[in-house]
Symmetry: C2
Subunit: 314 residues, 2 copies
Amino acid sequence: MTQPVYDRVALIGLGLIASSMFWAIKRSGLAGEVTGYARSAETRETARRIGLCDRVCESAAEAVEGADLVVLCVPVGAMAPVMQQIAPVLKPGATLSDVGSVKGHVVEAILPHLPEGVHFVPAHPLAGTEHSGPESGFAELFDNRWCLLVPVEGSDRDAVDRLRRLWQGMGANVDEMDADHHDLVLAVTSHTPHLIAYTMVGVADDLRRVTDSEVIKYSAAGFRDFTRIAASDPTMWRDVFLTNKEATLEILGRFTEELFALQRAIRTGDGDHLHDYFTHTRAIRRGIIEAGQDTDAPDFGRGQAGGQTGGTDK
Amino acid sequence: MTQPVYDRVALIGLGLIASSMFWAIKRSGLAGEVTGYARSAETRETARRIGLCDRVCESAAEAVEGADLVVLCVPVGAMAPVMQQIAPVLKPGATLSDVGSVKGHVVEAILPHLPEGVHFVPAHPLAGTEHSGPESGFAELFDNRWCLLVPVEGSDRDAVDRLRRLWQGMGANVDEMDADHHDLVLAVTSHTPHLIAYTMVGVADDLRRVTDSEVIKYSAAGFRDFTRIAASDPTMWRDVFLTNKEATLEILGRFTEELFALQRAIRTGDGDHLHDYFTHTRAIRRGIIEAGQDTDAPDFGRGQAGGQTGGTDK
Ligand SMILES: NC(=O)c1ccc[n+]([C@@H]2O[C@H](COP(=O)([O-])OP(=O)(O)OC[C@H]3O[C@@H](n4cnc5c(N)ncnc54)[C@H](OP(=O)(O)O)[C@@H]3O)[C@@H](O)[C@H]2O)c1
Ligand SMILES: NC(=O)c1ccc[n+]([C@@H]2O[C@H](COP(=O)([O-])OP(=O)(O)OC[C@H]3O[C@@H](n4cnc5c(N)ncnc54)[C@H](OP(=O)(O)O)[C@@H]3O)[C@@H](O)[C@H]2O)c1
């Protein structure tokens, strides 16, 4: 058991991330009491049934009252309306954070409503699965994954360090960067790959009329990885693309340029171009294995049980 | 132990697929003797050292002599030259097969050289990893995966059924389809997804100059899945795209159309379009889970050990 980092934590939104945070906080005794609120009665009911949160409240304001840390765990597009509901009851000296996958937009949405004396420290855990909702969380989700803190101008150093201790207590490694940089890096490593996966699965779906169920039946890795990615929550990803528009469109532009060059190489039979390109991309994979973000071991259990990489967000 | 299906099997090319076949054949005693040949002295040496094949030969012709089943396990573009070397020594009544990822091209490359009385039964196991070479194989690779047999006009029924028994003995489920259909289905489920993954990794590599090692450091699922795919053998994939050109270009055309539509939706802020599209693609994932091609269980061990989906080919 670690020393509690906060007396009272409030989680607003009770989906994959919030429920994983709750179980991770409980695992290590990181908070005295954790309150929670979700928009729908159904989710609140489920949360009570499975013991998610020490106290599930009937309004966001009620959950937030008296909290030392408030974490917004709703889709990026819902941050501003939620903030409006809770701003009046935020305790002076409290820390406000979020877990949104886009940071620039969240900062813009929150700052105008931030009461004097409340410390705002945006965060983004780079961990997730394609599942969502209150029953999808588990205490180990953040273990050995990164959580990026994105302090804003004037963020209180003590508040940042305390939030860092919370995330470390939940198993994560913590780094700091600014919002614009975060949004560009994530556009490359997560947002654009997701859009591409969604697109490829859409094309396949379209072709099912031609090939019937074969596309599914014979899909192994490659396409199967894409379908897992493309199974993620539609609302979350709609909000990501609408709010990280600029960086995503920039990366997409580069992507289509490169794809056209490879397409041309295929059409003209330019095998050397293809071979060089494919040789080049091998190196980056090695970098990832060396950085400890994945293992090099073949997965023998694949196709039988649990041989699944899981995460969908960055 | 099963009854041997063939007295003598020859494997030409000793990479991932051939070595996995050897271990799977030995696991269940499916052949009396297995001979092998690889182009480079280095690979033949490695094969001898690790006990891959009962006998490693110094030429393809030597390995093939007297074999009841010959399986070409070389890149698709190397099938024709290899065939020319072995055609004169193929035993009348023997079965010739291959494991190439493209079938139309292989059929065209092999048929003109096929001696009278030799049964040609092309095959494609839908299983693989991103690793290659003689040391990358393992007996379980084909367990519960599909192997597609692609009989050509005049393929002997008994020869087809016998090869089916071999693949079933190696753990695979076997289906039959024609070459054109195979190449279209694979273009959707494997070839185009691989090209897209290669492209995205290439874009990221390009951007490393901007974002330094962060793209690697913070890459989790999404991009990380892509890098695994893009780590596959460059020669194998070059050959796949050069020989399954037509189907790949058709699917790529549809892909870029759909991607442009999504890109426009992002630019114009059309959240409904994005949400509808993402909701739609969720369904295909469910189909895959129901078809038993993957599991729905979250992978708790991810990022720590072996949480890797593995396969790269269809
Ligand atoms: N999933 C990932 O891989 C991942 C990873 C890192 C960060 N994130 C970020 O974490 C946040 C939460 O994601 P999640 O995966 O936990 O989502 P989730 O499982 O879908 O849960 C979302 C929660 O937000 C609530 N909510 C949705 N729309 C709302 C609205 N308009 N007003 C108030 N509450 C609303 C939902 O309430 P109901 O249940 O009542 O509908 C639900 O409790 C998002 O900002 C996402 O970008 C996600
Ligand atoms: N990897 C997959 O995911 C997968 C899945 C299903 C089907 N396939 C198909 O299976 C076949 C083999 O793939 P693999 O993954 O086993 O490849 P691999 O591990 O790279 O091994 C290829 C083997 O072919 C030999 N070879 C390469 N070029 C040759 C040439 N020009 N002439 C003679 N021999 C040559 C190599 O010899 P050296 O070692 O001496 O260079 C090596 O032994 C390919 O047709 C591929 O499309 C692959």
